[in-house]
Amino acid sequence: MKSSFVKRLTLAASVMLIGGSAAAQVKIAYIDPLSGPFANVGDAGLKGFKEAAEILVNQKGGIMGQKLEFTGFDNKGSPQETQIQLKAAIDQGFRFVTLGNGSGAAHSLIDAVNKWNARNPDKTVLFFNYAAVDPTLTNEKCSFWHFRFDANTEMKMEAISNFMEKDKSIKKVFIIGQDYAHGHQVAKYTKEMLAKKRKDIKIVGEDLHPIGRVKDFAPYIAKIKASGADTVMTGNWGNDLSLLIKAAKDAGLKARFFTYYAGGLGTPQAMGAAGENQVLQLTEWHMNVPTKNTEKFAQDFNKKYPGIWFYYLRVNNMVEMVAKAMNTAKSTDPKAVALALEDMRFQNDTGEVWMRKSDHQAMQPLYISIFSKADGKTVKHDSEGTGYGWKTLASISQRDSQLPTSCIMERP
Amino acid sequence: MTAPAIRMQGLKKNFGASEIIRGVDLDIHRGERHAIIGPNGAGKSTLFHLISARLPVTAGAIELKGENVVGLKPFEIARRGLSRSFQITNIFHNLSVFENLRCAVLWSLGYRYSFWQRLAGLKDARQRAEAVMEEIGLSRRRDTPAGILSYAEQRALEIGITIASGADVILLDEPTAGMSNTETEEAVAMIRRVTEDKTLVMVEHDMGVVFGLADRISVLVYGQIIATDAPAAIRCNAAVQEAYLGTSLHSENAS
C-alpha cells in the first residue's frame, strides 16, 4: 500500500460518510495483524500476497484484464476487531477476504462471513484461509464460504506419523505443547495415530505449558531427558519453540524434534545453531525443494524485502488458484468463484494441489525436512541467513495426506 | 446505676519492647467533660487510639457503656455511639463541606450501604448535615471542597464530622491545636455548645481550654494516670505539680 497518509485519511473519511466504492479491479482484503506483537507475521504475509499477485497474475495478464490487488486491514490479532475490519472491507466494496493468523480470528471471521452471507445474500463474501489450521474449520464448522489452502493440524500429523512409522529408530516419544487448542490437538493426534501405526512406540511423557509464559525451558528439557525420549513432538511456534530448542541444546539433549513451525518467520534465526540436525519440520515447501519457478521467486522476494524471508508457498497457490477460478468462471462473483474453486486441480511447482469439494480443504504435497548446515549442494540455501538450511528427508504426495472429513456443508 | 461511658481497666499498649501505656484504670462518667493532660509523649493520643480501636490493645479491658469493646473494629465502635476527632486533620479532602458532614450522618440515620435511595431525597440526612454545618459555622462554605479550606475551618469541620453522627461519647484530640487566641475562643464555645448532654473526653495542651471546659481532669504521665480529679483539685495536687505542672504548665500557658 503505497498510498499516502492523506489519501488514506480522505478515503477513510469518505467511506465513513458515504460508504462503499466501486470496484475497478479485483480486490482482496487481507485481514491480519499489522501492528502489535504479531505484526511481523501479518506483514510478511501481506508482502507475500502483493508480490504473488504482481508476479503470478498481473504480469501474466491479470484476471480478465483486471488487476488483482491485496489491501491490508489491521485486525491487531483480535477476533472482535476482525469483524470490524470485515465490515470496513465490505463497505469499501471488497467481496473477498483472506486471513491466516490465529484460529480465534479465523473462527470469528468464518462466523461473521456465514452470518453476513445469510443476512445479505445479494452481497456475499468469500473467505480464503491461508494459514489457520484448526481442523474444525473444515470439519464441524465447515462452510461453503470458506476455503483453506494450508494443510490442517490433523493432516500434518498424519504426514508426520507416516514418516515416523517407517523410521525404526524412533522408540520413545515425548509430547510437549502449548496449553491451548492447537497444542491439545497435536497431542491428541500424535497419541491416536501412533497407537494405530506403531504400537511399539512408547509415549514416555506429555506436557502442556501455558503459551508464551515460559522463559526457561530447562526444567522441561530435564524432564524429557529423564524420560529417555529419543523423539519430541511439538506444535509449539514462535518463542516457545526457539526457547525449547535452545534449552535442549544447552542441556545436551540429543533427541529429534518434530515441529510444525520451525521453518519461518524468525524461528530459524532465533534458534540458530541449536537446531542443527535435531529439528525437523513439516511444510508444503522449503528453499531446498528443487522447483522451476518458486526458487527464483523466493530469491527475488528475499532480495526485495531484506529481513523478510519467503515462507508461504501456499500464498502463491492461493493467488494462482483464485485467479484461475475467476478466469474459469468468467466472473468475480463470490459464489461463482467458490463453485469454480471446488474440486479444482492445480499443478504448482511441487505437484498437484486439489481443493476437495466436500470440505473446501486443499490437499497438497508436503515435505519433511531437517535443519542442517548449508553446504551449497543438497542444502543449497540457508534459512534466514543463519548458515543452516532445510534438507528434505521425505516428500508426501497430496494423496497421502488426505483424511476423511466430518463436514456436512450447507450449500446455497 | 448505669455503667460509666468508658471504663478502662489495666489497659496496656506496647510498641515492640517499649511500653507506652502501662496499666491505665479510668472511668469516664456519663455526661461529664473529661480532659486528659500530660507532657508530650505521655501516651495521650495512644490512649485515644486504643479506645477508638485505631490501635490494637496489648492487654487490659475497655468497656463502652458497660460493653466490652476490645477487639472490635473502629467502625463497630463508631456504631456503638463513640465518635472521635484527630489531632492531624482527617477529613474527606475532595468532597465538599456539606458532603463531608452528610457522609458522617449516613450510618447513624440507618442508610447503611444503600444504593437504592437517592441521597438528595434523604431529607433527614440533609437537615442534620446542614444543622451541624450551621453549628460549626461553615454554612457559607457549603460547596467548597474540604481540601481547600483554611486551617481553622478544617479543624472546625473535623469536629463537625465527629459530632455529626450524634454519638453520645465524643473524643476530641487537641481540638484547638494550632489556632490563634480568638479562634480558640470560638472553638471552645462551639465545643461547649455541641457537646451539651454528651460525654466528652479530650486531649488538650492549652490549659486555658482544659480548665475552662473540663468537669474532671486526668493526668497521664509515662503511660500511667497519676491523678484524676476536679480542675481545682488537680491544680493543687502535689504529684501533678511535681511531675507536670511545675515544669511545663507555665510554658504551655505562655505559648
Binding site: 503505497k2 499516502s4 497518509f5 492523506v6 488514506r8 477513510a12 467511506v15 465513513m16 460508504g19 501492528s35 491490508g72 486491514f73 489491521d74 491487531k76 469483524q83 470490524i84 465490515k87 470496513a88 463497505d91 490465529g102 484460529s103 480465534g104 470469528s108 461473521a112 452470518k115 443476512r119 484448526d134 474444525t136 464448522k141 491451548y180 487448542a181 501455558p210 509464559r213 526485495k304 531484506p306 529481513g307 | 473494629k73 473502629p74 467502625f75 463508631a78 456504631r79 465518635s83 474527606f92 479532602h93 475532595n94 468532597l95 457522609c103 458522617a104 449516613l106 450510618w107 447513624s108 444504593f115 435511595q117 437517592r118 441521597l119 438528595a120 431525597g121 464530622i161 455529626a164 453522627s165
Partner: protein, 424 residues
C-alpha cells in the same frame, strides 16, 4: 441546590445525548461506521464500570476484564442454551445475564481482592487477572479454546416489535438502549449513600471507618456492582460480535479500559465516556490510516499523563468554569494563537514519524522504503532533503510553541487566579 436526580438542565443534556446517538446511524450509514459505533457503546459501559472502581472508590484494578469477559462468556453460553426456538425478546434481555455473571464473579473474586485497598489491591487484581486469563486457555470446554465460543443472535421465528437483531443497525439500537440504561443507573448510583461513601472511602478510608462504615464492605459492594455493569458490557460484546474468545478477559483488555478511563478523566462521571469514544476511534480509525498508530497512541497517552492528568474531562471542566465566569472569551484568542505553532510542531513530528516508519517498517516497495508519498508529494527518503525539512518544521514549531505558549501560560494563570479570586 439540585435535589432531584434529573433537574431540567441535566434532563435536557441527557435527552440531547440520547437523541444524538440515535440519530448517528442515520448520518453514518456505512456498516463500518455502525460497527464502530457499536464498539463505542460497549466500551462506554465498560469504561464507566471501571471508573466506579478507579474514580469513585479509588481502587486501581489491573484485572477488570475478568468481569467483562466472564459476563461475555456466560451470555454466549446462555444464548446457545436458548437455542433456535427462543425469541428475540429473550436475546434482548441477555446482557442482563452477562451482568449477573459479572456480579457473581464480583461476589466471589471481590471477596478476596477488596480486603485491601491501594497497591495491595492493584497487585491482587493483577494476579487474579493473570490466573483467570491462564485458566481461560486451560479449559477449552468452557472458554472454547482458541476459537472461542460463538453463537447466533438471530433466533426464533417471529420478530420482537420488528426486531430480529440480525442487521447491525438493530444491534446498535439494542446497544444504545442498554448503554443508556446502564449509564443512567451508574450515574444514579453516584447519588446514593453507597456511592457517596465510596468517595469518602477513596478520600480517607480511615475516617470513613470512624464514621461507622466498614471500608472493606464499601469496596466489596462497589466492586460487585462494578462487576455487574462490566458484565453487561461483556454481554453486549457477546451479542454484537457473536463470538467470545479468551482475550476478552486478558490483561490487554484490562489495560485498554484503564487507558480509556484515565484519558477521559477519572474525576468526572462523564470522563470515561469521552475516553472510551476517543480511544476506540483512535484504535480503529487512526489504526486504519497509519501503521504508526501505536506510536502516536503511546505519545498521546504520555502527553495526557504529563500535561492533563485529570483527563479530557478536567480540561473541559476548566473551560466550562472559565465560560461561566465570563473569562473564556479572554482566553479564546490565546488558544487560537497557540494552536498555530502547535499545528506546525505536529506537522513536523508527524512528518518525521511517518517517514521513519516508511523507511524502517514500510510496506511499500521494500521494507526499506526509500520513496514515499506524503501529502501527495513524492519524497526520497535516502536524501537528506525531506528529513531536514521535517526537522526544521518541527524545530520551528517547537520554538514558536515555547514562545507563544509562554505568553498563553501567563494569560492562563491570570485567568485562573481571577477565577479562583472570584470564588473566595
Amino acid at each position: 441546590m439540585n435535589s432531584a436526580l434529573f433537574p431540567r438542565g441535566r434532563l435536557l443534556l441527557w435527552g440531547g445525548c440520547l437523541a444524538l446517538v440515535i440519530a448517528l446511524p442515520l448520518v453514518f450509514k456505512s456498516g463500518f461506521m455502525v460497527s464502530l459505533l457499536c464498539q463505542m457503546g460497549i466500551m462506554v459501559v465498560f469504561a464507566l464500570s471501571y471508573n466506579m472502581l478507579l474514580g469513585q472508590t479509588g481502587l486501581l484494578s489491573f484485572g477488570h476484564a475478568v468481569y467483562y469477559g466472564l459476563g461475555a462468556f456466560i451470555t454466549m453460553h446462555t444464548l446457545n442454551l436458548i437455542g433456535k426456538d427462543g425469541s428475540p425478546l429473550l436475546v434482548a434481555l441477555l446482557p442482563l445475564v452477562g451482568g449477573l455473571a459479572g456480579l457473581l464473579a464480583g461476589v466471589v473474586l471481590g471477596y478476596v481482592t477488596t480486603k485491601k485497598a491501594g497497591t495491595t489491591f492493584a497487585m491482587i487484581s493483577l494476579g487474579i487477572g493473570e490466573l483467570v486469563a491462564a485458566c481461560a486457555l486451560m479449559f477449552p470446554g468452557f472458554f472454547g479454546g482458541e476459537g472461542g465460543v460463538s453463537g447466533n443472535r438471530v433466533i426464533g421465528k417471529e420478530s420482537f416489535l420488528g426486531f430480529t437483531w440480525g442487521p447491525q443497525v438493530e444491534m446498535y439500537g439494542l446497544i444504545v438502549v442498554w448503554a443508556f440504561l446502564a449509564t443512567v443507573a451508574m450515574f444514579a448510583l453516584t447519588q446514593t449513600p453507597l456511592g457517596r461513601m465510596a468517595n469518602a472511602v477513596r478520600d480517607n478510608p480511615e475516617r470513613a471507618e470512624f464514621v461507622g462504615y466498614d471500608t472493606q464492605r464499601v469496596r466489596y459492594l462497589m466492586l460487585i456492582l462494578s462487576g455487574f455493569f462490566a458484565g453487561i458490557a461483556g454481554g453486549l460484546t457477546a451479542l454484537n460480535y457473536e463470538i467470545v474468545t479468551a482475550e476478552t478477559l486478558n490483561a490487554h483488555t484490562s489495560g485498554v479500559v484503564l487507558l480509556m478511563t484515565f484519558v477521559g478523566g477519572i474525576g468526572f462521571f462523564y470522563g470515561p465516556i469521552i475516553g472510551a469514544i476517543l480511544i476506540t476511534v483512535m484504535q480503529i480509525v487512526i489504526g486504519g490510516m497509519t501503521h504508526a498508530w501505536l506510536l502516536y497512541f503511546g505519545l498521546f497517552f504520555l502527553f495526557m499523563v504529563l500535561m492533563a492528568p485529570g483527563g479530557i474531562a478536567s480540561v473541559i471542566a476548566v473551560q466550562h468554569k472559565l465560560w461561566a465566569a465570563g473569562l473564556f472569551g479572554r482566553m479564546l484568542p490565546h488558544y487560537l494563537v497557540t494552536a498555530l505553532p502547535v499545528l506546525v510542531l505536529l506537522a513536523g513530528l508527524i512528518g518525521l514519524i511517518e517517514m521513519g516508519y516508511a523507511l524502517l517498517a514500510g510496506e511499500g516497495v521494500g521494507a526499506g522504503d526509500t520513496a514515499t508519498r506524503i501529502m501527495t508529494v513524492e519524497l526520497h527518503l535516502n536524501t537528506p532533503g525531506p528529513w531536514l525539512a521535517a526537522l526544521a518544521t518541527a524545530a520551528l514549531g517547537l520554538a514558536l510553541t515555547r514562545w507563544i505558549g509562554g505568553r498563553t501560560r501567563v494569560a492562563w494563570n491570570a485567568s485562573l487566579s481571577t477565577l479562583h479570586g472570584d470564588k473566595t
